[in-house]
Symmetry: none
Subunit: 216 residues, 2 copies
DNA sequence: ATGTAAATAGGGCAGTTGCCCCATAGTATT
DNA sequence: AATACTATGGGGCAACTGCCCTATTTACAT
């Protein structure tokens, strides 16, 4: 079984270096490369028969963390390993939060990179030891990074919060209506408004976003 | 530079197996072994010129987690790698909280064990990929670690976990089918089976229960 | 070899959801 | 007084969901 891989890095020189490292292994096929996240997304829209993405973080237009979040949202089956020069806590934490399946540093040697890919495709996580240590520290001492730019003023009314709370319990419109002594129509309307405010289109998304923002 | 190592395991058979694995490497010296935590502590009181401890978790008298906490409190410079047969979330999380510098499984081969020791002594953390993945999930999911009664054996197939992961992104059956190259009917069937196994009746419930159990 | 489990795929159907349309009343801000 | 927001309620409709039925193929364990 082959591994179909994409590389995303704004430095075409480094893309070449990564390709070269992977060239030793016959079962790794570099399907395509991109210079930033939006380029990758365009390619994925056309064909998502891809196993894994090696993703830089610092990139113009759409950076690696944002791109990871979007790719994982739309194509959760595609594995993503961050491959970057920077290993500060914030990058690591944000990459993990965005859904990265691994985090490696660019100085990595070919064998280790290959192993990381194999391990990730095998259902594990690729990490070099120094990164692993940082994740352990983050687990011990949860670094509370307030949701970055996600701070876009979300203000739900009291009623909307009540409805959202019920939604999070997997109750139907009808059941919510009964619980809150409303008509189902009103519940539906509230939910429509909630969706608009949160910019989502389903129960699950609404509940998850609300939880991220500590609304419920 | 040599690595002075101690082994703590209530199974003397397994101590022997570990010693054998380490015997291939000249720079690893097994200073002493103990059958439980209190025995180790006594030995450390007399001489703590030790670099690293390979620690089992399940032990009588003083288990590996408690022992780790005590050792790290008194001798923080001594590295501790958990070396156990069990990789449940609770053990992993508690070991990390107790201050473990790594977490490996007993089936590990000699080379990997040696690498883990070297990496740990080099300021990193030793972890095999499946453990690494669990720590990432714990980082993403800061909440719920225990819930005793929730422990009712949930065993989803690999495919079912994949589908559940997609479900958690609020994707429709159709979108999931496209992502996983399946027919929508198959996706529906998987979801039916997931619901039965988790004893739930909706997307939201399934996703929430899966998260509580660190399945996704 | 034989049974169990998993993975695949399809049909049918009632009920739910998400998203439009519409309206009225109260409250608060300006 | 006018505007904005919130809360309330309703109709319609395509799409999606949850749950039942069936079936074949592969793989693994007894």
């Amino acid at each position: 079984m082959n591994f179909r891989v994409a590389i995303v890095d704004d430095n075409s020189f480094l893309i070449h270096a990564i390709k070269e490292k992977l060239s030793f292994f016959d079962d790794v096929i570099v399907k395509h490369t991109s210079l930033d996240g939006s380029e990758l997304l365009t390619k994925l829209e056309n064909s998502h028969n891809l196993d894994l993405i090696l993703m830089d973080i610092e990139m113009p237009v759409l950076n690696g963390i944002e791109t990871t979040q979007i790719v994982k949202q739309k194509f959760p089956q595609i594995k993503i390993i961050m491959l970057t020069a920077f290993d500060n806590d914030e990058n690591i934490f944000n990459a993990i939060k965005a859904g990265a399946d691994g985090y490696l540093l660019k100085e990595i040697n070919p064998d280790q990179l290959y192993n990381g890919i194999k391990e990730t495709m095998n259902g594990g996580a690729a990490m070099n030891p120094s990164i692993a240590l940082k994740t352990l520290k983050l687990l011990r001492n949860p670094l509370h990074i307030d949701n970055q730019k996600d701070k876009e003023e979300i203000s739900l009314s009291k009623r909307e919060v009540e409805v959202l709370e019920q939604l999070s319990k997997a109750l139907s419109y009808k059941a919510i209506a009964e619980n809150l002594f409303l008509s189902p129509s009103t519940v539906r309307k509230h939910i429509e408004n909630i969706y608009k405010k949160l910019q989502v289109h389903s129960k699950i998304e609404a509940v998850q976003k609300a939880k991220r923002h500590n609304i419920i």
